[in-house]
């Protein structure tokens, strides 16, 4: 079964719709789905009041439920929160907390995404073909519950604080990233193909950050370890250029690995004298 949602109008107020989740939709008729509760601003509404809901036959029924959203849902928060299986595809921009605490399944977005996508996730995949906001894969402010697994792929740019407190999993960014990539990271891998803002890996304890583009400076609490010819991002993906390998963050007695492209960062060549 496959459900398509079309926003009925342009949303003015924030909408909290954690009910847009393949498991919650499973086994329900479109009329029943239309009765699910959502918050629009401080008013409780039903999903049917905000979206046109259509049922379309799914070609491959073995994969579990699927949801397609067509239209701008940039005011809608918590889509796919806590989902464990199934698939959500969104053609348009999406709001904050997409796939929060998700444990499995897949979310694909053909558009831009707000902050906190994949926050506190434990498994599954989020693929974003546009840009993502700040706090991608990061916990809510103040919390230390970073992502415990899963994979996030962004084909565009992302904001600040990617992968805060990350404990496991992979985040791949094929565009540029803002400041504080992998802040307080414990384990896992973050790959930034483009340029990266300052303070990458601040307070990291362990894990890997790979910067394929320009980075203005490496934090003084990192020490250079060696030059590497290639770096493995994950199974089946290897980056073949030379990298400086820095270790840190020493203020936390960290063992984290920060790889920075040699070719794109000639201003860091002065570190090479410490390698002799």
């Amino acid at each position: 079964m496959m459900i398509s949602l079309y926003p009925k109008r342009e949303f003015k107020f924030p909408i909290i719709a954690e009910c847009i989740n393949p498991e919650i939709f499973a086994g329900k008729k479109p009329e029943e789905i239309a009765e699910l509760n959502v918050w629009e601003g401080n008013k409780q509404k039903t999903l049917g009041e905000l979206f046109k809901i259509e049922e379309t036959q799914k070609t491959n029924p073995s994969e579990g439920g699927a949801i397609t959203i067509k239209g701008d849902v940039s005011k809608v928060k918590r889509i796919g929160a806590g989902m464990e299986s199934g698939e959500i595809t969104i053609f348009g921009n999406v709001g904050m907390h997409l796939g929060e605490e998700m444990k499995g399944g897949k979310i694909t977005v053909h558009g831009n995404v707000g902050g906190w996508a994949g926050s506190m996730m434990k498994g599954g995949t989020i693929e974003i073909h546009g840009n993502a906001g700040s706090y991608l894969g990061a916990p809510y402010r103040g919390s230390t519950e970073g992502i415990h697994g899963g994979k996030i792929i962004v084909h565009g740019n992302v904001g600040n604080d990617v992968g805060n407190h990350m404990k496991k999993g992979v985040i791949k960014i094929y565009g540029n990233a803002g400041q504080f990539v992998g802040f307080h990271m414990h384990k896992g891998t973050i790959y930034v193909q483009g340029n990266c803002g300052d303070r990458a890996g601040a307070c990291m304890k362990d894990g890997t950050i790979i910067v394929g583009g320009f980075i203005e400076s490496v934090m003084p609490t990192f020490t250079i370890d060696s030059l590497k010819k290639r770096v493995k991002v994950e199974e089946g993906e290897v980056v073949e250029t030379s990298f400086y390998l820095f270790l840190g963050d020493l203020t936390e007695n960290g063992q984290g690995k920060l790889y920075v492209s040699k070719e794109k960062n000639p201003h860091l060549s002065h570190y090479e004298r410490f390698l002799k």
């Binding site: 918050w39 402010r141 103040g142 919390s143 519950e145």
Partner: protein, 563 residues
């Protein structure tokens, strides 16, 4: 307005009523003998439990520290929020709820009087501002006086009467209710980066020991005829082996007690009942403490029961909070409140699978079950230090049902389980005993004459729980018990129904209770005192006292002192 509550099973320990089926009449916010049966609004409480409104002797619900905790923990609000209704305001917070939510949640559990136990005098205005915004419940606060420079100096010089007059002035000008001591001497030492390790350690620069402070303020408390005893958070709190310090603290005021009357309240005793040399050899000291308490009558205490959850610890005990930060590595704050006290906050997660936390959980329940007289030990979680107050129904279930205890026991750390005394304790408390531990005993210890009972003339603060003690056995149906105590069928505050079927139906204002201590001779505000205010405090003497118009609903209790 008249109200008649009919046919409930009434538990009113102060008036020796144990589950008797009877009617309670209410008129103009007070309990009366009878009302006009035709005119009065009737509430059918048949098959339900009727108790006086709950009284909480120790719960951090307002003030500078609580608010810092709110700022420190946005993730605590994110998890738990309540939307606004046509009657109530919205609010957030699990372990440190916002003021409005605090009032609503207490009222939903049938609690109507709550004491905030730690008010630095300098933050008194802030505390009272938050009290004004805490609806429904009556509240009061204990100013922290155990490390206040003036007190330390008077006591060092042995000037008990001058000290008493000064304390009276402090309590009245901060609009406080009792004398609170936190790690006496230790907080002043913490200002210099030290702590005190025993009752006879000297406080740097003051040449005074914790023993002298405790005894001195205990005498002051007696001279002033304050309704509550001194409220003591012991030295060495939260350190293995500290049960000896707790016992010594209790012993040190033995001779100051009047016949049969308590002279000291040891608060959140669970944190002061650790046996063992370090965290690995930690054991329960509950049995030793319970044996002492069973043999003496000069003290009361409260549990400080651990709940396995993510909570926020906050005390005025700065050095303890610093140790906790070093243990946990969590984010933290620590604060030196000028010449008065210190404070600290550390978020903390109590886990079943941690040996230490599981032992702590066991200690709290052992204390409550091994101390035979429920008038001596009260139910608290030291909210939010050992767990949020919304967990009280869970603790009631553990105390009333061995089955509930065993169920939790199965999930805790195996070594802690094998060392716990709980499997050997068969005691299951009755509703009468629970009524003592959650309202009557606490009201009596606080000296609140119109609270905690349903006798004629008492405030009409009443909680009605939908649980039939005749047909349902609480020790077997502990889940139903928990549900019933989580949300009352009715909560009545000052004769008005404020909660019905677990929902707040009226947004009433609660009063702020404070002591107006009348001394025969007014404390003289000398030029010397003003000079010191200028020199040592950021607040001028003129701006220091809290005036009565600062309290929205002020309920002073006049106390005549012997000095």
């Amino acid at each position: 307005m008249e109200l008649l509550i009919r046919n409930g099973f009434v538990y009113d320990p102060i008036n020796d009523i144990d589950g008797e089926k009877m009617d309670i009449a209410v008129k103009d916010g007070k309990i009366v003998k009878k009302v006009n049966g035709r005119k009065a609004r009737k509430i059918d409480a048949s098959g339900m439990i009727v108790m006086p409104g709950g009284v909480d002797i120790h719960s951090h619900i307002a003030g500078g520290k609580v608010n810092s905790g709110r700022l420190l923990r946005p993730e605590d609000h994110f998890r738990d929020y309540e939307p606004k209704t046509s009657i109530t305001r919205s609010g957030v917070g699990y372990s440190i709820p916002s003021t409005f939510t605090t009032g609503y949640r207490y009222a939903r559990m049938g609690y109507t009087t709550v004491m905030d136990p730690a008010m630095p005098p300098l933050e008194a205005k802030h505390t009272h501002e938050e009290f004004n915004d805490t609806p429904i419940i009556d509240k009061a606060s204990y100013p922290l006086l155990g490390d206040w420079w003036f007190v330390l100096e008077y006591l060092r010089e042995g000037k008990i009467e001058e000290c008493a007059r000064h304390v009276a002035w402090m309590i009245t000008s901060t609009k406080g209710y009792a004398i609170k001591l936190v790690n006496p001497g230790g907080l002043e030492a913490w200002g210099f980066g030290h702590n005190v390790a025993s009752l006879d350690d000297q406080v740097p620069y003051f040449c005074i020991t914790p023993r002298e402070i405790i005894r001195g303020l205990c005498k002051v408390n007696k001279l002033l005829n304050l309704p509550h005893t001194i409220h003591v958070h012991t030295n060495n709190l939260g350190k293995p082996g500290n049960y000896t310090t707790a016992l010594e603290t209790m012993k040190c005021v033995e001779d100051l007690a009047d016949e049969g009357k308590p002279a000291i309240h040891i608060t959140h005793c669970q944190f002061s009942a650790f046996k063992g040399d370090d965290w690995r050899t930690l054991e329960s000291g509950a049995e030793d403490i319970a044996n002492y308490v069973n043999a003496h009558s000069h003290l009361t205490m409260d549990m400080g029961q651990i709940i396995f959850t993510d909570t926020t610890t906050m005390t005025a005990d700065g050095p303890f909070q610093f140790n906790l930060y070093q243990l946990s590595g969590n984010k933290w704050t620590n604060h030196d409140v000028e010449t008065e006290t210190s404070s600290g906050i550390v978020p903390f997660h109590y886990r079943r699978k941690s040996y230490v936390h599981a032992v702590q959980w066991s200690i709290g329940l052992e204390l409550a079950l091994l101390i035979k007289d429920p008038w001596k030990i009260f139910l608290t979680t030291d909210h939010p230090n050992a767990g949020p107050f919304i967990a009280y129904p869970k603790i009631i279930a553990w105390l009333m049902s061995k089955k509930a205890r065993e169920k939790t026991m199965k999930k805790i750390h195996p070594r802690a389980r094998s060392r716990s005394l709980l499997p050997s304790i068969d005691r299951e408390l009755s509703f009468y005993e629970i009524a003592i531990m959650t309202r009557a005993g606490q009201a009596k210890a606080l000296g609140l004459k119109t609270k905690g009972h349903l006798g004629v003339g008492a405030d009409a603060d009443i909680a009605i729980y939908n649980f039939n003690p005749e047909t349902t056995d609480p020790s077997k149906k502990y889940k139903a018990l928990r549900r019933a105590f989580k949300r009352t069928a009715y909560t009545i505050k000052d004769g008005v129904v404020v909660v019905k079927n677990g929902e707040v139906v009226k947004n009433a204002k609660g009063a702020t209770i404070w002591l107006d201590v009348k001394t025969s001779e007014q404390v003289k505000v000398t030029e010397e005192m003003k000079r010191r205010f200028k020199e040592y405090w950021t607040v001028e003497y003129e701006n220091y006292p809290v005036t009565e118009h600062y309290l929205e609903v002020s309920r002073p209790i006049v106390v005549k002192a012997d000095v």
